[in-house]
């Protein structure tokens, strides 16, 4: 029986009422008295030396408050990078300066050169057009492999070359891995591209800076997934504002997908300029600006090899990846192709030896950083593609080959540094086989062929590491931050609760699902619990939401804080009931004495806490408010198996997705409806990557797909009805809720299923096609068929 409240209930998303009725409060809805507007003059050249900036004509134009250029930021910190990767020789990565406004050089189309603050946006734009910028154009560095050749033009003159780092993982295993390849009975290799993507959240980025001269306090309203991280980075590393004088508010945020994790120049600029101009300063990104200034995602070029023994057991994996960093290091960019990618290379398989090499490269393109899945989709895609290719080369069933190599015993320590706590890969595959009706595939293929179409079936597995992460571990790996989460639970006198969480909801529905957990723990109605997030002034220091970490880490902090509340409330109840604390039980919102009919209601206890007339003041303080910080002891490891069925039109190359089934194991589930929605969204983005989305630059560093006219987003009619199941549940063993996280799974697991299916369709028609690079747009599929 489905529950109608608490953990496991599909409670309707309470936040949707305001989102769907126009009552949300997004950053662009915030307007301050006396506010000025900033327009950024951005480079339309990918690479060049700035020889002159003349703002004199612009400065005297109507409405102009002040014009800023790079020289106004001398002595101000640059944009910090939050993760330092150490290369295979033990040396730190090359880390270039990242200015707020260009200093002497421009390094990608979209880099801000000057900023005009004016009374109105139109006046700011008018004045920006009157600024004269002379740029001596240099050859653009676009192709990663060319960028690493001797004598290549350097993106950063003060670095040795365009190589950010050359990472080997696990370096000590390299010789053993090479040996395993020499001894292999079969080796399958595959070269592929993981296409560059633009996240495109529905709400573009916005920043409003405000400065209170009376108290010397700065406030930044911003579209962020993690306001405390922005406060720390911007306050400590960029502007030198102590955290007690800096407040960062991320109110309703219309989607993030990773690209709103990072600290951006526009945020620092608006905060800085508000003080410099003594006026609030607002910036709202246009969609065009979003394409050339939001951090992009993916962009890996990889060669992967899989070694198998004579019995088709995987014996080793070796990969070589070039990862595009873009022109500068975005906040967490270095971690994505390394610790979020190499550590997942074992996938669901007990391959004993793995070696991952990653060369991170600077190019004259927009910085690349985490995008839904971040590193894990890249790992899953190459692994699941090469396993599929191996099955075809060996003439064995791709599902059987996978099953044969599944990890079945847990905990399992992979050769790439992580330990999976739980999982049941046969379980999700069994479920998938049931959902996918594979037995009926031959008939469906015959039907498609009758209509002149080719039909293909693609299957894959995935594993991801979520709930990032143990702080001491990530510290060793180069993170310049801790990755705990926090919650303060404040109980009001009349029994209602406010939970102030360091997690941040930008579409995920935390206000609903977090409330379900607390309500369940106390046994009260969900509507008595309010979730507050997004404001550093009223939430404890938290690390924010990304990496499917909110319920696993933020939820755990909330559970710990609620446990403290319950423990204290029991003390109060034992006093009121004149019973021993050990005998007090909490059930359905009432405290009772075990084995008696004596009880006291939740509201009586909370009232006593704040009106402590009859109260054990000598033992405990009045009030009922507790804070907990939770630092996980391991990642969580959601896993699953996906199946995609496609039709390919052989005349045009057009691919349509006919069926898609996803069997996931997310551990315990708080709100099944919300989880299903997260999977749907992830699948849409993964299928978008596989079939449609392509962020492309020309050889001059001009972005070819800089608007929706050329960048294809997935739309509802590109997608089938999804068949989603998350009944396979192996609870996480190390967090109190047994949860694993579900936010990224769909985007991680779906691209290989789509490509495997298209390859299957083409091979069914006798085409010698073993791989097509994403997106599998009609022209590419047609070219592959007729190549």
């Amino acid at each position: 029986m489905p529950k109608d409240g608490g953990i496991g209930a599909s409670s309707k998303r309470r936040e949707d009422v305001r989102f769907l009725t126009g009552a949300g409060n997004y950053t662009d809805d915030i307007n301050m008295h006396g506010q000025a507007y900033v327009h950024f003059l951005r480079s339309d050249i990918a690479h060049g030396t700035i020889t002159n900036i003349d703002t004199s004509a612009a400065a005297s134009m109507p409405g102009v408050v002040r014009i800023f250029t790079g020289s106004d930021f001398e002595g101000v910190g640059g944009m910090p990078c939050g993760w330092q990767v150490t290369d295979k020789h033990g040396q730190p990565m090359q880390e270039p300066a990242h200015p707020i406004l260009a200093q002497g050089k421009v390094r990608h189309v979209g880099e801000p050169i000057a900023a005009v603050v004016a009374d109105s946006l139109a006046e700011a734009r008018d004045a920006a057009e009157a600024i004269v910028v002379d740029i001596n154009e240099l050859p653009a560095v676009v192709d990663m492999k060319a960028a690493l050749q001797d004598g290549a033009t350097k993106v950063h003159d003060d670095l040795d070359n365009n190589l950010c780092y050359d990472w080997g993982f696990v370096e000590e295993n390299k010789d053993a891995v090479n040996k395993a390849f020499e001894d292999a009975a079969h080796v399958t290799s595959l070269e592929l591209v993981n296409n560059r993507l633009v996240a495109n959240p529905m709400e573009p980025r916005v920043a409003v800076g405000d400065y209170a001269r009376g108290t010397d306090e700065s406030t930044l309203y911003t579209t962020s997934q993690n306001p405390h991280v922005i406060r720390l980075l911007m306050g400590a590393f960029v502007l030198g504002i102590p955290e007690h004088k800096l407040r960062v508010v991320a109110p309703d945020v219309g989607g993030g997908f990773g690209t709103k994790i990072f600290h951006y120049q526009e945020e620092a600029f608006c905060t800085f300029a508000a003080k410099a101009c003594n006026r609030p300063v607002k910036w709202t990104s246009s969609r065009t600006e979003a394409f050339i200034s939001d951090a992009h995602g993916r962009d890996h070029v990889t060669k992967i090899e899989l070694a198998l023994d004579a019995d088709n057991n995987f014996t080793a994996i070796r990969t070589e990846t070039h990862a595009n960093m873009g022109a500068y290091l975005s906040t967490f960019a270095p971690s994505v192709p390394t610790w979020l990618h190499g550590t997942l290379m074992a996938g669901n398989y007990k391959t004993p030896l793995i070696y991952v090499n990653v060369k991170a490269v600077f190019t004259n393109t927009v910085p690349v950083d985490a995008y839904r899945g971040a590193g894990r989709p890249e790992a899953t895609f190459q692994l699941e593609r090469v396993v599929d290719k191996a099955a075809r080369e060996l003439g064995v069933d791709p599902i059987a080959l996978r099953r044969q190599n599944f990890i079945t015993e847990f905990p399992y320590a992979t050769p790439v540094a992580v330990e999976y706590d739980t999982g049941d890969y046969h379980g999700t595959m069994d479920k998938l086989e049931e959902m996918g009706d594979f037995a009926g595939f031959a008939a469906r293929r015959a039907e498609s062929e009758k209509n002149g179409k080719l039909r293909g079936l693609g299957v894959n597995c995935y594993i991801e590491a979520c709930g990032i992460a143990p702080s001491n571990l990530v510290g060793q790996l180069g993170a310049r931050a801790g990755l705990y989460e926090s919650a303060t639970v404040r109980v009001n006198a009349t029994g209602g609760l406010v939970v102030m969480t360091g997690s941040h909801s930008h579409g995920q529905g935390h206000e609903t699902s977090f409330a379900q957990v607390v309500a369940e723990m106390i046994g009260i109605d969900e509507n008595m619990v309010e979730i507050v997030h997004g404001d550093t002034a009223n939430t404890p220091m938290g690390m924010g939401t990304y990496g499917s970490r909110s319920i696993a880490v933020g939820g755990s902090a909330m559970v710990r804080a609620t446990e403290k509340i319950i423990n204290k409330a029991k003390k109060i109840a034992s006093h009121l009931l004149e019973a021993s604390e050990a005998d007090i039980e909490l059930k359905d919102g009432a405290f009772s004495v075990a084995g008696t009919d004596k009880s006291v209601a939740w509201g009586d206890v909370t009232l006593a806490a704040y009106v402590p007339h009859n109260y054990p003041l000598e033992d405990i303080e009045p009030g009922l408010e507790e804070t907990a910080f939770y630092d996980p002891s391991n990642f969580t490891y959601p896993s699953g198996a996906y199946a995609c069925e496609v039709e390919v039109d052989p005349d045009t190359g057009k691919v349509t997705i006919e069926r898609f089934a996803a069997a996931d194991d997310f551990g315990n589930i708080i709100n099944p409806m919300i989880v299903t929605g997260q999977v749907h969204g992830g699948l849409a983005q993964g299928i978008g990557q596989a079939l449609l989305e392509n962020c492309a630059y020309d050889e001059n560093g001009q972005l070819l797909s800089a608007s929706y006219m050329d960048y294809a987003m997935p739309r509802a009619d590109d997608l089938p009805m999804f068949d989603v199941d998350h009944s396979s549940q192996t609870p996480c063993t190390h967090n109190p809720l047994g949860v694993k996280g579900c936010g990224e799974a769909g985007a991680i697991g779906s691209p290989p299923a789509v490509v495997n299916a298209v390859v299957d369709a083409l091979q069914s028609a006798g085409k010698d096609v073993t791989h097509i690079d994403m997106p599998l747009s009609p022209d590419r599929v047609w070219a592959a068929m007729n190549g």
Binding site: K654, Y708, D710
Partner: protein
């Protein structure tokens, strides 16, 4: 957007007068022009909306049986009311999305002559007549290359007349991002022959595929196109397809249009 004056005249004559001002520009549905203005890529001093001119609105049938569409008629109205020419109504019904169809106009589309737009193929494929405030222009003379037409400065498309064919069909293979035509083929069979007009493909904008017309005029069946091909050399080559791919699609879509023609 830069500042501009705005006028909404009630007659063609008033519109022509308003357009006499320096750098004045006609505004149809604004589905092309407004985004251009927002990007600050154009700087008209005055916009003259044609949407308030009653004589430029609606669909009717002329004495010769041709469908006559007012120059400021929206795509949605054509989709709903041009039932006497089903292929034309269906073409209009697949332009853009509902918002675009409710705002965008046939005059705006033909005046703009985007190389990937649908109406140019319908007009050229039907041998339509473009009626302006000063003259009548045959479709064959009207389209003069990408974004280029026979219109003079300030000339207004007041009406478009489509002779109704025996059979016709438009096959649009969409560009995945914009959903304009990557290649769109309009085939119309008239008593005196078949016309085939192709949009989306050529560097010279919409064009007639005369070889296919000849073959289909003698045998109106998909097989008639077998063996015919266009060169990809002068075709658009971009992120979404090479010239050769587009040339190939011209053949595929022509056959499909013939097969579907009703």
């Amino acid at each position: 957007m830069y500042n501009f004056e705005f006028e909404k005249p009630g007659s063609v004559a008033d519109a022509v007068a308003a357009l006499g001002a320096d750098d004045a520009q006609a505004l149809g549905g604004g589905q092309t022009l407004i985004p251009t203005l927002k990007q600050r890529l154009a700087m008209p001093t005055k916009l003259v909306s044609l949407k308030g001119i009653a004589e430029m609105q609606g669909v009717c049938t002329g004495d010769d049986g041709a469908i006559c569409i007012g120059g400021a008629t929206s795509h949605a109205t054509v989709a709903a009311e041009a039932g006497a020419y089903p292929a034309l109504a269906a073409t209009a019904a697949h332009i853009g999305d509902p918002a675009v169809r409710n705002r965008g106009t046939i005059g705006g589309s033909l005046a703009n002559n985007d190389p990937s737009a649908c109406y140019p193929a319908a007009a050229l494929g039907s041998g339509a007549t473009i009626v302006t405030n000063t003259r009548e222009i045959a479709a064959d003379d009207y389209f003069q290359g990408m974004f280029t037409t026979a219109l003079d400065e300030g000339e207004i498309i007041t009406e478009v007349r489509f002779p109704v064919p025996e059979k016709a069909n438009y096959q649009k293979f969409v560009q995945p991002a914009s959903r304009f035509a990557l290649v769109g083929v309009y085939v119309a069979k008239y008593a005196d022959g078949v016309r085939v007009a192709i949009t989306g493909a050529s560097n010279d904008g919409v064009f007639r595929w005369t070889e296919a017309e000849a073959a289909l005029s003698s045998n109106f069946s998909p097989d008639a196109v077998d063996g015919l091909s266009l060169s990809g050399d002068d075709m658009i080559s971009d992120l979404h397809g090479t010239g050769d791919y587009r040339a190939h699609l011209c053949g595929v879509m022509t056959k499909r249009a013939v097969a579907a023609a009703a």
